[in-house]
Subunit: 375 residues, 4 copies
């Protein structure tokens, strides 16, 4: 067995997403025949103690409380950014300047202009980039996309997408970074997934009309007073795809009872597909070509037919979990670095989502439809 | 057992809905303790032969090919109109002029101005009216409305409503009356149900932003040529309720695979309700008051707890069918005629829906939000 | 329109099932092109007052407190028995002796020997009979049966049937007639439906092994003491069909939360069907002939493709209710009386179910498999 | 951060399950605070080439084609056996003799007498053991077990368990090791999971009545002839728990369309729980304590409330996958080795399942109930 080149990872941030990325890095090599051997070189967190603790728990070779140390290590090839959103830009630009590939959690930046600056820098430097829209890594979505592309649904006519959760329901919960304008609100935080899925399946959105609403207008500031909230709790939009199909997108973090309603329904002239992240190992397919009297939505269960599911389990019915999606994300990025395939979701794609988020909000404020082109 | 006063029915139209109304008239007395004995007096259809055939099949005492004969019969108390939409206005106004109560299938009229004219005439004449929004007669909807009114969901924050079917999917199907501007399109035809359910549950909508789309722009005219289609195949809208809650409504008759996706999801600060007409004997309820670790949407099955289900079956789990909803509709109208309760869904309410339909379309054309007040 | 012969109905019993039968008699003529005009001639209940009240509410021409009066009326053609189970035999035999057709609620009798006596009497007299296994009247079951018969599932290999409800869960509820040995227990009362469905779909069961359990061994007698309960609360059985397929049946009236879990799953070499009465307007079908990667259980919704659904609604998605099943039952019986088709579920079939019930219990007591032949 | 003691792993077998175990070993340390650092020391496969290939792919330090080499390495603490069932006994006994802890895939052995021999050897040697009944590692099952133990369902009355798949549906598929008597058939292969889950939730089964059926009696031998099949394709059993509750178990590998129907329904006097491995991040709970009119099965989604889900994801709705269950299994075994808690499912437990499998088959052959005690 020939030895593979090494690819060193430098991770910034060790919270929920930092941990999820490490799951990806450690399970991807067991699942895929990757083009590189992954080496967890160095992890950065805000204090020496936190960094050292994360080093041990996550399995890195070394630790630092200064993320800039990662840039100096020539054995680090990928800078993996899972820090708070507001820091993404500075870190990514520094990593690009150091000639590193960059893997950045979503959202890429808090402003689309920043996202574009990062995109142009990466493209100029010739480094590879990846933004963490992990739900797109689901084999059932890849299968859905392929079915649509193959014309199995006929001409696509309408789309309904939603990403709803309930983690902001309690109005007595104190003001936090997600309530800040830099945090972005429901559309930026979770609706961005719905936008990404819509474009992943049906291609670019070229026109939007938004309605973004702040339901909980103020929250306790934690010091006995109240603080005004300016971001959206829910945001709805009409969208038109370049293909001519139309649809709607809803982002909602006040959807009591919903833990992960990342759902879509796509209707074509010959078939339809329905999906819910609540049961993300299933895809529901209706075909007008089925025999009369026996048509109905088929509950297709994830199986080796739906690559790369078979890499995880050789038999159907076993199911992937959230962390497995991260392994697929990692494998896609490594393939892109090796030049084996295009970047699955690079900074330019991340910029595209951020631009849509901003357009929807602006459309809402101005109460008019906006074209994507020219923005 | 004291004898009840008689209430004579004169039916115009004997198609799908005419038959459904007769189901209502014949089963309502077996189910409810009605204030009247119903007498099926006379049925009108376009030819003597059709009328006579319907008389026998539906159980009427007499038949006519001239609907105006119904107005002359003093033993007829209710004129029941299930004829094509374009005829509703003339027939209803004549019935009102003759002092009859009027039961009219939806939509009340093809123009809201006509609907208002009919409303004012009925109110001036003091006759009772009913428009056939049958889905509102579901006991589970009444229960949902009561839960919301009682505050069991807390403050209502968002709403998602849809009415989608697939009966217009085939673009090779010839142009018919539903494709005509007087037929009204997807929003008027089926989306009106979604609007009615939204207002039934959450109260009046006071502002709308619409997006109505004609997907199939022309259809075979049946004579070898093509005919331009001007009505909407799908229509989406943002809505704001007078309560301050916001929501969305979708009407879609190109939703391949959907036979009766009349669904809603309503999210409040303390709970949520989800419903689908596809399984209309169920209501799904989530409550934050359930014990931690054990919260989840509860699938509540229709039961005697949900009046008037118990009138049909004394035990849970037996389920109502579509025609049973018509019996409930009939019972409600008869109670209103007897003065026992307000009209469940009178001409003024029917006008309100028609006005919303028109506002959504106008909003779509003008690409701007419109207030309901003043229209 | 030619006039039809009249068929007079004499109803005994006016409870839940009596009312449901009247729903059937009144809606069947609106739905079907029946061979007869139905006349609700006379209703019998235990007191003159109850009988008269039922007459008015249910729409009968006359009333009596002596059910034998029905036998004397030459205009009564069908004696419809919905009285307590223990009275079925006497009433049916008297009706048969009077030359009447007999429509009897299930169970036909409390002992299979009685059921056989009734069967032989009816056959000797040449009258038509019907036992009220209403769930068999579901169009989706007829469709399932036809699919199986047509070989669409290939060779049938296994079957799982259950009828579970929760109406006997509360052990503090007082002893009633259903707890009595003549009432029959969970298997006779509700499991009989599961047996009937199994044989309806797959043909005769020829061997059984039972396990019947009395969970709540005593109940309050209503007078301050306790009374021993001897019937089964739940009963499980292994069954072998004459076709060679094997299966299991469960009857359970202690299934907390279940209101109508009348479910089956049937697995063949090329496909499978799953059904739940909880959603009885659906049938779930899996076919190995679907394309690889796209196989899955299809949720088929009741539609005009599934006769006689189209008699009730011309469009899919509207759904039948429990009372509609009774209309189908009535129509089938009238067709049989007119000689248009075999009796859908006659006394001999009812005997067959009762025999299976007794065999399962005996097998349970003796702890051995029993052949149906010879019993 | 203090350093942890090392625990060396020696893996035998590198197929589906070998790979799944490695997933467990590599992700467990990222998820849990384990008492040991895991070292993947050596992997054994049948040829030097296969072993070396597995070493590279799975990340072991060394490789061998002779599994006995693992016994000689003092740095190997756990022998992990994922080889064909027929080899488990020899390997486990050798490992125990070498003083190693043993982690063995299910079934523990092909005969319960062998399983007992292995159990006694392990207990005598004082080594820790683990059998791979991975479905028991689901946090939702742990939660269900805790709810039952806490009395939240009241007195448990009945149980329905099934494990059905369709991988043996095709009768043209050639005879393989699973068709051999040593392979065990449907009950041993997959029904053992259903038995394990039943006992996990409700405690020991003390009496069984079985019905095991060979549906496909012969299969192609791959050389142009046919070979007789002696094992069961499906096996049903009635079971009685020591608690007094009764239930049924079905094992079925001919269940066309079913990929992982590992389901249970448990009914108590105050509540019920339903579960399907097809949607194993959900648990459905009904409580009679809910408000009248609002009772229904609640769909509880996996969340940090259900330990150790929170170790994988800090937010609800993200879901675990099959391989995550293996990480939980590994963590439990390591805790047991460290003396922190009892072995989750040791050889004695594995023996118990194997004994039940044999009793069910024997009961089927003898057509009589059998007590577990004394066997």
């Amino acid at each position: 067995m020939k030895s593979k080149p090494k690819l060193g990872i430098g991770l910034i941030g060790t919270g929920f997403m930092g941990k999820a990325h490490v799951f990806g890095f450690t399970s991807a090599p067991r699942v895929f025949d990757l083009p590189y051997d992954i080496e967890l070189r160095m992890v950065a967190d805000v204090t020496p103690e936190l960094a050292e603790k994360a080093r041990g728990a996550l399995g890195f070779a070394s630790a630092t409380h200064d993320w800039r140390d990662l840039l100096k290590d020539p054995a680090i090839d990928i800078i993996d950014i899972t820090s708070p959103n507001a820091l993404h830009k500075e870190m990514a630009l520094a990593a690009i300047a150091a000639g590193k590939h960059v893997y950045c959690e979503k959202p890429l930046a808090t402003l689309s202009s920043d996202a574009m600056e990062m995109t142009l820098a990466a493209e100029a430097a010739g480094v590879k980039t990846q933004v963490g829209f992990n739900y797109l890594c689901n084999p059932m979505l890849a299968y859905a996309k392929a079915m649509i592309a193959a014309g199995e649904l006929g001409e696509i006519r309408s789309y309904r997408g939603v990403h709803a959760e309930d983690f902001m329901v309690d109005k007595a919960a104190v003001y936090g970074f997600r309530h800040d304008i830099a945090g972005g609100g429901a559309l930026a935080d979770i609706g961005s997934h719905a936008l990404a899925t819509a474009e992943y399946l049906l291609g670019p959105i070229d026109r939007v009309m938004g309605h973004s609403v702040t339901v909980i207008g103020e929250r306790p500031d934690g010091k006995g007073g109240m603080k005004k909230v300016e971001i959206d709790d829910l945001s709805r939009s009409f969208v038109r795809f370049a293909s001519g199909a139309t649809g709607s997108i809803e982002a909602n973090w006040l959807a009591t009872g919903r833990k992960m309603q990342h759902d879509f329904e796509v209707y074509g002239s010959r078939g339809a597909l329905c999906f819910s992240q609540e049961r993300f190992n299933e895809l529901h397919f209706y075909s007008v070509d089925d025999k009369a009297g026996q048509r109905g939505f088929r509950r297709i269960e994830a199986a080796p037919d739906h690559a790369p599911y078979g890499r995880f389990c050789v038999a159907p019915g076993h199911q992937l979990g959230f962390n497995d999606l991260k392994a697929i994300e990692v494998a896609g990025f490594l393939d892109a670095i090796a030049g084996l395939r295009p970047e699955p979701f690079n900074f330019r794609a991340g910029f595209g989502i951020q631009r849509l988020v901003e357009l929807v909000h602006r459309s809402s404020r101005e109460e008019k439809w906006l074209d994507v082109a020219g923005h």
